[in-house]
């Protein structure tokens, strides 16, 4: 970390501290690599996650307010959870909090990410990865509108995935609700929502779903077994955090450790991508060798 690192307050949120610990670790690692210093909000509490807000709006705001008060000075609070970001913004202002996606999609930080990816010299295995970006329903409130990262009519998530070398697939399920907390209160409805997402994903032809929300990730990753069981078919859809795709593109060793924590293992997909990439390289090499011979003739 250089001495000129920009400092932000970091709010992990309940999920990043539990089921999405790999997301939390990848955010910290990437922020460090692009000289954005994340300082944890000391003794943070739950943001209310909308559920408290519905029951008692004042209590919900007070919970979010306590976190903002504990964040140092005028620092922007960065979080990887769009639900938490939306709650923190509601309690203060749109400038008070931002999603880590918006931060990493900022032009200067994107340049640093591009430099890190470029330094690896190759884009494997992400180079041949086709991703279906999943935004969920909280995203319009939390990220994607402030950065202007999508000059070419792409969202920050699409811009970062393209930067990593992946191909972004357009699909119908990208803005569907993952079931959210309703999956826990009305699971039958939630499972039906998830079924539709996986149906759309199968039609899309993508290799993996990429999310920027730990809640969507948990629902899609952990409950696809249940959805598949109800349909009497095995679902094996790798669901990746966007930070993990960037880490893979940067060839970070820690990425393997993070991916190992997923319920649905993405290693089968990665192995296939490595093999395909090797084949492609060999074919390119052969074509390069034969080209000069033809020219000599």
């Amino acid at each position: 970390m250089s001495a000129t690192a920009e400092v932000f307050s970091y709010y992990p949120g309940c999920l990043a501290a539990q089921s999405a610990r790999e997301y939390d670790a990848s955010i910290r690692r990437l922020a460090g690599l692009v000289d954005a210093s994340l300082e944890d909000i000391n003794d943070w509490n739950c943001c209310g996650a909308g559920v408290v807000q519905q029951a008692d709006e004042a209590a919900g705001r007070a919970l979010a307010r306590r976190n903002l008060d504990r964040a140092g000075g005028d620092r922007v609070v960065v979080s990887g959870c769009p639900i938490c970001v939306a709650r923190l913004r509601e309690a203060a202002s749109d400038e008070a909090a931002c999603h880590v996606l918006d931060l990493l999609a900022r032009p200067d930080l994107r340049e640093r990410i591009a430099a890190k990816i470029g330094a690896t010299g190759e884009k494997r295995p992400v180079g041949s990865l086709k991703v279906a970006c999943f935004y969920g329903c909280q995203f319009p409130q939390a990220a994607g509108e402030q950065t202007g990262a999508g000059e070419d009519a792409s969202t920050p998530l699409e811009a970062l995935m393209t930067l990593a070398g992946a191909s972004v697939v357009t699909w119908r399920g990208s803005r569907r609700c993952c079931g959210g907390y309703r999956l826990f209160s009305e699971p039958e409805v939630g499972f039906e929502t998830l079924r539709k997402i996986f149906r759309d994903f199968t039609k899309s032809g993508a290799d993996a779903i990429v999310t920027a929300c730990p809640h969507c990730h948990f629902n899609l990753d952990a409950f696809q077994y249940t959805v598949g069981r109800r349909q009497k078919r095995a679902l094996e859809v790798p669901v990746l955090h966007f930070t993990e795709v960037l880490a893979l593109a940067m060839n970070l060793e820690a990425a393997e450790k993070w991916l190992d924590r997923h319920v649905t293992s993405p290693f089968g997909l990665l192995d296939r991508l490595y093999v395909e990439e090797e084949k492609r390289k060999r074919a390119e090499g052969r074509a390069r060798k034969t080209k000069p011979k033809k020219e000599q003739q």
């Binding site: 004042a58 140092g72 009519a153 826990f184 209160s185 249940t226």
Partner: protein, 97 residues
């Protein structure tokens, strides 16, 4: 891209459904007790709404063994301040940052 920016339609559930009410209760209980929400408590609420809860319980055990869930909940140190925030009492102590 107005179409992309628009809010996705939520799942067709009534906000006053008994399951939603129970979830709110659990959230408030968890925050009052620890300041953070433990995911296992939310999963337990989900099982209450299922016809075959035992199958999902096995899934939870698998998640625990796979280190996906934390066995024990995390707690905020200054829980009194969180309770004050919930009840709407003014916090007289200065935020320590």
């Amino acid at each position: 891209m107005p179409a992309k920016r628009s809010r996705a339609p939520n799942a067709k559930t009534k906000p006053t459904a008994p399951g939603v009410e129970r979830l709110r209760e659990i959230f408030l209980e968890q925050i009052r007790a620890r300041g953070r929400v433990h995911q296992r408590a939310v999963l337990a609420a989900m099982r209450e709404c299922l016809e075959h809860p035992a199958t999902e319980h096995m899934q939870e055990i698998a998640l625990l063994l796979g280190r996906k869930l934390r066995l024990r909940p995390q707690k905020v140190k200054d829980i009194a301040a969180v309770r004050r925030a919930l009840t709407g009492e003014p916090d007289t102590r200065e935020a320590s940052g």
